[in-house]
């Protein structure tokens, strides 16, 4: 306690130095006076009295010194002194200081920002107890390795498996909710009773679903998310037991989940209702071939993923034998839930972290090399200080102080950059994607991230303190005074530094080539043949309340009313509807069979869309042959179908498809349709996806399409039409829900494919620019160091008559040699490295000559600039000065 107090006093003594010294001077003066008085009284002469007093004191200066040392913390005082000196040194060389700090800031900022993502996404992705026993369980077919379960399959899997202690399914659903601002469609999740129990999270308020509550016979109940409870029910505790109407059906609220609850695969759900699987014959829940569910399960203790997979695959095979019609080719897949949730981002993040680490390394090497250039010019200063009595430890401490100071400033700024960088990276993630990455909510400069930054800073500080110390080995210090020394260490460093710069330039080339290729494929991607005109198209999704429009005829009537009203709006040229928007991706498929052909039971999987009369006209997709749908193609008329060219080519290679008939796998009479038209290959697939065969049905001949996409071609800016469309729909019926208002351009731009390509191009591009910057500075550092070492030699050359032009040439040649090596090595490496990019490249080869040439030119120009500055300095050397320094 008293020691702490004394330390604190001494620490504060650092700041009251002057006052204390004055006071002590007065005290000492008083002391001497008292002593002298007494000595005189005992008979001494004043002179002798004073001498005796000082002698008895033990000298004035030693006393003051001892007092001073006790008054403050001497070692801290030297550190403060070192810091002041270091700061002066740094301010004296603003060019060096700014460059070094800039590099450190970028290096540390980039790696800390990316580490923060790794920390949030990979270190603890699942906010559930015992996350390692949670698995994602689904069916698997060749086209979709992770495909949905059907409800009858789920019941059999659950009954037959020996691997899971609990097994539940969920499926996304939408409800229309009455809100003060009108009917609003909200996202929900239909789950089996043990869903929350399997995840291991209990409700914050109320209760969990009880066993059997998901059966049709149980009363309908709902559990709310915390956000919904707050937003729509004002966080009132008495909501438990209240009734809420969802799409016109009353549900009792039984619970509220905690704020921290998240379920990444479907995190947009506002509430959870129970399965209540329908048992009416035609419903999806009752059909084994209708796949719409996803499964999660807890492994029993000691059961491995492989064992569970083997178990489920055996069950799937058994069901395949039992129900050959429905379950042909339906396998099983089991994977850790964490792999499903962060599996996509893990390799991306780890690659990014590797890239950031590399950048940091380059930055450190560069700063070290700049420090060396500078220590060269400080040799004399160091030698003088050594000669004046500064010990090796004292000199070393000076370098350590300077290193630590650089790193501290760099780290502080780096953290700022990291903070900004994280937000930029977050903004690169689309809002939709963000919903499914709830773990990124924990992103920030938390303890993990700060410790990471601390470790980096320690390493960097160690490197920067050691480099000049090692370089200025103390044997050389004495030579420093003569200024003529050229130690072998200098040559060694030039060699290492040169190799490092070649490496840096090579890395910059690889990253630039990668960024160029990715940018180019993004460009190609956005110009892929869509076979429709994407401009001036406004889209939104409409949901008809099923309680108001329970029958298909009613839906058809209100759909027609909507389309007529919208088509009549000023600024609209035509409007159509479809069950799926173009460019949404392959999927929503049907298995078709051809009337009059042999059938081997193989599933002919094709995209299936139901569209309105004006759909293709609105999109401006070309009709190749036959006819489009007309108003007459309704339920009273024979069923018709339009196919795309891909289907015609694949299934009718040598015959005319028009007039041929197709049906479902059993050719049930209700499913038979006649082909009346062939349209161009409208891009249903994602931008980089393959065009699949597709069938288009008249939506009025199809059943159960209470929600559909509206596509409107406008004559004015489509963005401005969106609110008009919504109000037009609500004029027909305010009970119709509308969501996803967007232009087609936005829809394409925000599609996952475009998003991945754009993000990859930006990220690699960002790294490439940093690498280019760092590589250029690195080259500058090495050339400048070399020039500083050769000052005398250049002076001699010039004294002997060398022209300035030849000095330029001498230095530039040295830079050019390194640059050529770096570019050559970089291009060789990028040919190999971009092979890894092949899967994401689109419409461009990994050996794209234009990209490679551009990168080489950019790098050559940057290298020229980097060597020009030291070359200019070398050419400006005054030979007289250079030689006089001998």
């Amino acid at each position: 306690m008293k020691t702490v107090r004394a330390w604190f006093n001494r620490l504060s003594g650092l700041f009251s130095n002057q006052r204390r010294e004055q006071e002590f001077a007065a005290e000492l003066e008083g002391h001497l006076q008292l002593h002298i008085d007494e000595n005189i009284r005992s008979g001494m002469t004043p002179d002798a009295a004073r001498r005796d007093a000082i002698l008895k004191l033990g000298g004035l200066e030693p006393t003051r010194q001892a007092y001073r040392e006790r008054g403050t913390l001497p070692f801290l005082e030297t550190i403060l002194h070192d810091l002041r000196f270091a700061l002066r040194q740094l301010v004296k060389n603003p060019g060096f200081t700014l460059t070094a700090i800039l590099m450190l800031t970028l290096g540390i900022g980039a790696s800390v920002a990316i580490f923060a993502f790794v920390d949030a996404a990979l270190l603890k992705p699942l906010p559930y107890p015992n996350p390692s026993t949670l698995v994602d369980v689904n069916e698997s077919v060749p086209l979709f390795p992770r495909s949905n379960l059907s409800y009858p399959d789920y019941l059999d899997w659950k009954r037959l498996n020996q691997s899971f202690s609990s097994f539940d399914v969920y499926t996304g659903t939408g409800y229309l909710l009455n809100t003060p601002s009108g009917i609003e469609p909200i996202a929900g999740l239909r789950v089996t009773d043990g869903f929350f129990h399997t995840l291991g999270i209990a409700p914050l308020l109320g209760r969990d679903f009880y066993a059997g509550e998901d059966l049709l016979s149980a009363p309908r109940t709902v559990i709310l998310s915390y956000a919904t409870w707050q937003k729509r029910f004002a966080g009132r505790k008495d909501v438990i037991g209240q009734t809420v109407s969802l799409s016109g059906i009353p549900y009792t609220i039984v619970g509220v989940m905690p704020d921290t609850f998240q379920f990444a695969p479907r995190n947009n759900a506002e509430l959870w209702t129970t399965m209540h699987a329908s048992d009416s014959a035609g419903s999806c829940d009752a059909r084994r071939s209708c796949h719409g569910l996803y499964g999660i399960a807890r492994l029993k203790p000691g059961v491995s993923i492989q064992a569970a997979l083997a178990n489920m695959s055996a069950i799937a095979q058994q069901l395949e034998r039992q129900y050959p019609n429905d379950n042909r080719g339906q396998g099983a897949m089991v994977q850790p839930l964490s792999k499903y949730i962060v599996g996509d981002v893990r390799p991306i993040l780890l690659t990014l972290l590797g890239g950031a680490g590399l950048l940091l390394l380059i930055a450190c090497v560069n700063v070290a090399s700049l420090l060396l250039v500078r220590s060269e010019s400080r040799k004399r200063e160091i030698a003088v200080r050594g000669a004046l009595g500064a010990g090796p430890a004292r000199l070393a401490r000076q370098f350590i102080t300077e290193g630590v100071m650089l790193v501290s400033i760099g780290t502080a700024l780096g953290l700022l950059v990291a903070y900004g960088g994280m937000h930029i990276l977050l903004s690169l993630i689309s809002k939709d994607a963000m919903i499914h990455m709830p773990y990124l909510r924990g992103l920030g400069l938390n303890l993990h991230v700060l410790s990471f930054a601390g470790v980096i800073a320690l390493f960097a500080a160690a490197i920067f303190s050691l480099t000049p110390i090692l370089r200025l080995s103390f044997a050389e210090m004495r030579e420093g005074l003569t200024e003529g020394s050229r130690g072998s260490a200098g040559v060694l460093w030039r060699r290492i530094g040169a190799n490092l710069v070649v490496l840096e330039l090579a890395i910059a080339v690889v990253l630039l080539v990668g960024a160029g290729l990715l940018g180019k494929s993004f460009y190609h991607l956005l110009r892929v043949d869509l076979n429709f005109q994407p401009d001036h198209l406004a889209t939104l999704e409409a949901d008809l309340p099923e309680t108001v429009y329970p029958k298909d005829a009613q839906m058809a009537a209100v759909r027609k009313q909507l389309l007529d009203r919208i088509a009549a709006l000023p600024g609209v040229s035509s409007a159509g509807v479809s069950t799926d928007l173009p460019v949404s991706g392959n999927g929503d498929t049907a298995w078709i069979r051809f009337v009059g052909r042999d059938y081997d039971g193989k599933h002919n999987e094709v995209n299936q869309r139901s569209t309105s009369v004006n759909y293709f006209a609105t999109l401006k997709t070309k009709l190749i042959r036959g006819r489009l749908f007309t108003e007459n193609d309704d339920v009273t008329k024979p069923m018709v179908v339009i196919i795309n060219q891909a289907l015609a080519k694949q299934y009718f290679p040598n015959e005319d498809p028009l007039g041929k008939r197709i049906g479902d796998t059993t050719l049930s009479p209700k499913s038979i349709k006649q082909i009346v038209g062939i349209v161009d290959d409208l891009r249903e697939a994602s931008l980089d996806g393959q065009i699949w065969p597709a069938v288009y049905y008249p939506i009025d001949q199809d059943t159960g399409n209470s929600s559909f996409n509206l596509i409107v071609r406008t004559t004015q800016a489509e963005q401005n039409m969106l609110p008009t469309l919504v109000s037009a729909i609500h004029q027909v019926d305010p009970g119709i829900g509308t969501t996803g208002e967007a232009t087609m351009a936005q829809h394409i731009n925000d599609s996952p494919t475009a998003y991945i390509h754009r993000t990859a191009a930006w990220l690699v591009g960002g790294f490439a620019v940093l690498a280019l910057l760092l590589g250029t500075i690195g080259l500058y550092g090495v050339i400048a160091y070399s020039v500083s070492q050769r000052t005398r030699e250049i002076g001699v050359r010039m004294a002997l008559g060398a022209q300035r032009a030849s000095v330029y040439q001498l230095v530039l040649k040295e830079g050019a040699r390194l640059a050529v090596w770096g570019i050559a090595a970089g291009i060789a490496c990028s040919l190999a490295a971009t092979l890894l990019l092949r899967s994401i490249l689109f419409g461009v080869q990994s050996w794209d000559v234009a990209t490679l040439a551009t990168v080489a030119i950019v790098l050559a120009a940057a290298s020229l600039l980097a060597s020009y500055i030291p070359a200019h300095r070398a050419a400006s050397i005054n030979p007289v000065e250079a030689l006089r320094a001998e």
Binding site: K2, L28, D37, R70
Partner: protein, 114 residues
């Protein structure tokens, strides 16, 4: 000179505290003189070493100081014991007595044949 003992590390603080307890608030010179006299001039004390010791005791909170005027009208800094200083003095005194007693017994015992 050789028959004088140097002040042992650690004992100076105790002597300072005891002196101030006995004489009341006192300036540095007075403390130094008193220690020298009490030792019967057997201790050789550089007066200068007293000041860091006084500063240390003040930093530790055992002493407080204020400016005053000496008997012969010289300006001087006077040191006085604080409450914790008084407690510390008691504690240190006890420790010291215990140590010397043990040592005395030890030395006495060593002279006896085993």
């Amino acid at each position: 000179m050789n028959d004088k003992t140097d002040v042992w590390q650690g004992t100076l603080a105790l002597m300072v505290l005891k002196t101030i307890e006995t004489l009341g608030p006192l300036h540095g010179y007075g403390i130094a003189r008193r220690i020298e006299q009490t030792s019967g001039d057997l201790l050789s004390l550089n007066y200068g070493t007293l000041y860091p010791a006084l500063l240390k005791l003040e930093q530790e909170g055992y002493l407080a100081s204020e400016w005053g005027v000496s008997d012969n009208n010289r300006k001087a800094k006077f040191y006085k014991l604080t409450r914790t200083g008084r407690r510390q003095l008691e504690k240190e005194t006890r420790n010291w007595e215990q140590t010397t007693a043990i040592l005395a017994r030890f030395l006495a015992g060593a002279e006896e044949p085993l």
